[in-house]
Amino acid sequence: MIAEETARVLPAEPSALEKVRKILFGRLDTMLATGIIVVFVLIAVLAPFLAPYDPLAQSILKINRLPSSENWLGTDQFGRDVLSRLIYGSRNSLLFGFISPVLAAIFGTLLGVIAGYFGGIIDRLISRVIDLLLAFPELLLAILIAAVLGGGFWNIIAVITVAFIPGFARVARAQTLSVKQEPYVEAAIAVGVRTPIIIVRHIIPNIMAPIVALMTLWVASAIRIEASLSFLGIGTRAPNPSWGNIIRDGLNSLFGSPWPIIGAGVAITLVVLSFNLVGDAIRDALDPSTAR
């Protein structure tokens, strides 16, 4: 279906942005997913105004309460309001979700372009390191680095970023190798344009489509990895809430109140699913290699 649409719009040469817009709002499921993402972003941004309580404030007198008009999703084993923790938790989850893939895209693209453009020993050096990192699944790599660095906001950002860099570098290198052969690049070299200018002006803009597609897909993975790390106790540090550690804390008092786990579980599922749907749509729109 996508291929047909692409075929139909191709003669008009629409800009990438238009294609994205068409994909995001052209289909019901992606539109719904986009809507969910927008809602969660708003929740994260407006957390202080939306959360009914301080997410850290404990109340020993109301432990493990079930949902009520006072606490919509009940309280956890320390008497903290579950809804407020989920709302504030969305900040951590989304921040990780956005910052890490963007950083990974920047560093990974840079490495990939350098390797692809210069070739030779530089290429071999970078590629082997990337191969080495690629040998580990992202989550495993993240756990490894987190175990060494310890938890904390920036450490986890760094962890997820490093885990994602190899993927971007791989794609960027492959794209650079093909773009490098294009006549316009050869022409630029011939007229004596300096290398950094060639890379910035001619190479990078022409390899961006798959990179952006990859980036949106990995937002979902980043949120998932952050939740996994926090669940394992090496992500967001207590008492700060993140969806992962809300589930972790909730497991201890599963029979006290299941609502922390249900709430955070639903939130993670919704957001990850939405980003995956939107990411797929963007990839289909931007990346010609997947268009059938």
Partner: protein, 532 residues
């Protein structure tokens, strides 16, 4: 009923699905086996002289015996409380330095290793004194000898009127067979030492647990239930479900706020056995690290912590403890028994004022770490919130339980919570937490004096030595109270609360006695399992 092919297939599918679900074998012989599940990933040791993880003591408590013991379900508070076990009678010299034990005759070791003799007792004490993981506890022992095969004489360097409770009734001095050790060899011994208890070892499985059966040649009434399985299920949810589903009969409780209530909601018939006071939860300030080298900061933290609230959050397992001993233990203080300036009552305003006086008018931030085990992490999460209320940000990392202890022992932590069950013998805790000899060392060779008290702030060692030399219980108590007051003034460590060691038990299991106090383990020789 005629069974057609389809029914047969459905039955087959259902049966194989059931078989796949059941990790534990179906319970064919009800009443024959009691299963208890503990909170650790697997057993590590079965040699009473090895310091291992707490849960391992459960199997050992059934397999080994001391010379004397307190009644089941209690700590012996005074020397009169102790009852004969492998010794039938005993006496001490007037200065409490020479202790003579008359051994029970005809006691058999497990596995056909023969009759227990004085030589085995001497051997067990030797291991405790020279190769054990708790040699300091036996440093006071000067000599152990046997004038005849049925008598053992222990001579001490310093008087110890509480010798029975402090050293004899301690796993390190449980009696093991010399002959068996020599035949088995050190390696196999570590997971299969040979003793005289009501249960003998059938199988040690490093993955799942320890399997025991009643020892047919036991000297006393045989264990009432033929088989005992001490299983290990670290995951709290899995352990809880195992009890609720009836796969196990007893589990180590999850000591976090609200757990007991939530379990009773699921199954109101469950029973909870708790030691009172249970473990002592203490907060140790590392005096060699800023800002805890500042007495004003330590006082501010003492005022910031609402001990009643901590105890209430852990109800019904939690208790209040102000000093180093629970109020009803020897040398324990209730809040109003302290002089006014040493009470450190909960007062956030005063805490803020003290912080300002200490040079932190805008509060302060520090980092530490804590074990992920629920009793540790939930206590400290409450402390974290109480500190936040007075402007102190505690950047707390929650780490693996084993790593937590390893890091504490290498002096890496700053504000350290420690939980340990102690008998009503204050000196034991002082030696562990306060004495210079137990000072924590960066290379890990030190002990559990995490605050560096005695070194960073000298003076306590003399008092501890005086308590150790006391010949009467009253003198001993007076010096111990002096130590507690001194600690209250210097604040290297303070009480956070007590937390009962708790086992949740199916009503089908009858223990045969009531658990009141004691270490974090108890005997199951009288336990029976009612059949459904």
């Amino acid at each position: 009923m005629a069974m057609n092919r389809r029914h047969f297939l459905e039955l087959g599918v259902a049966t194989s699905a059931l078989a796949m679900v059941g990790g534990l074998p179906a319970r064919a012989q009800e009443g024959d086996t009691i299963r208890i599940a503990l909170s650790a990933s697997g057993p590590r040791a079965l040699d009473p002289n090895i310091i291992t993880q707490g849960p391992d003591n459960w199997a050992m408590e059934q397999m080994f015996e001391p010379l004397v013991r307190p009644p089941d379900g209690q700590f012996g508070t005074t020397p009169d409380d102790f009852e004969p076990a492998l010794a039938t009678s005993w006496e001490s010299s007037d200065d409490a330095k020479v202790w003579t034990f008359h051994l029970r005759e005809g006691v058999q070791f497990h596995g056909g290793y023969g009759t227990m003799t004085a030589d085995d007792v001497i051997y067990s004490f030797e291991r405790a004194r020279f190769v054990g993981g708790r040699k300091t506890l036996y440093a006071n022992v000067a000599d152990v000898s046997a004038p005849d095969p049925a008598t053992v004489v222990v001579t001490l360097n310093d008087p110890d009127p509480l010798f029975l409770g402090s050293s004899v009734y301690s796993p390190q001095a449980f009696v093991v067979s010399r002959k068996a050790h020599e035949e088995i060899g050190e390696e196999a011994w570590a997971t299969g030492a040979v003793g005289t208890g009501p249960y003998q070892l059938d199988r040690f499985d490093a993955e799942s647990g320890v399997y025991l059966s009643a020892f047919p040649d036991y000297w006393d009434e045989a264990a009432r239930t033929p088989k005992l399985e001490v299983l290990y299920i670290a995951d709290t949810t899995a352990r809880t479900l195992a009890l609720l589903s009836g796969n196990v009969d007893m589990i180590e409780a999850v000591r976090s706020p609200g757990w007991v209530d939530s379990m009773l909601q699921r199954d109101p018939s469950l029973l909870f056995d708790m030691t009172v006071p249970g473990s002592f939860n203490t907060l140790h300030f590392n005096l060699t690290r800023a800002p805890f080298d500042n007495l004003l900061v330590r006082k501010a933290i003492a005022h910031a912590i609402d001990r009643e609230a901590v105890a209430q959050a852990m109800a019904p397992m939690g208790g209040v403890m102000y000093g180093l001993e629970p109020p009803d233990f020897p040398a324990g203080f209730d809040i109003e028994e302290y002089p006014e300036d040493l009470r450190y009552e909960y007062d956030p305003d005063k805490a803020r004022a003290l912080l300002a006086e200490a040079g932190y008018p805008d509060g302060l931030t520090f980092s530490n770490y804590i074990s992920q085990r629920e009793d540790y992490s939930s206590s400290m999460l409450i402390v974290q919130e109480l500190l936040r209320a007075v402007g102190i940000t505690m950047n707390m990392q929650i780490i693996d339980h084993t790593a937590f202890h390893a890091d504490n022992r290498t002096d890496k932590n700053t504000l350290i919570m420690h939980a340990s069950s102690y008998p009503p013998i204050p000196l034991q805790l002082y030696l562990d937490y306060l004495s210079t000899a137990s000072e924590v060392k960066a290379d890990g060779t030190g002990g559990s004096n995490y605050s560096h008290y005695g070194v960073a702030i000298p003076g306590v060692d003399d008092l501890i030595a005086k308590a150790g030399a006391a010949t009467s219980f009253d003198d001993y108590l007076a010096i111990c109270e002096q130590i507690d007051l001194q600690v209250r003034r210097d604040l290297p460590v303070m009480g956070l609360g007590t937390l009962s060691y708790t086992i949740a038990r199916s009503p089908r299991v009858d223990l045969g006695y009531e658990v009141k106090s004691g270490y974090a383990r108890w005997r199951l020789h009288k336990a029976t399992l009612a059949t459904l």
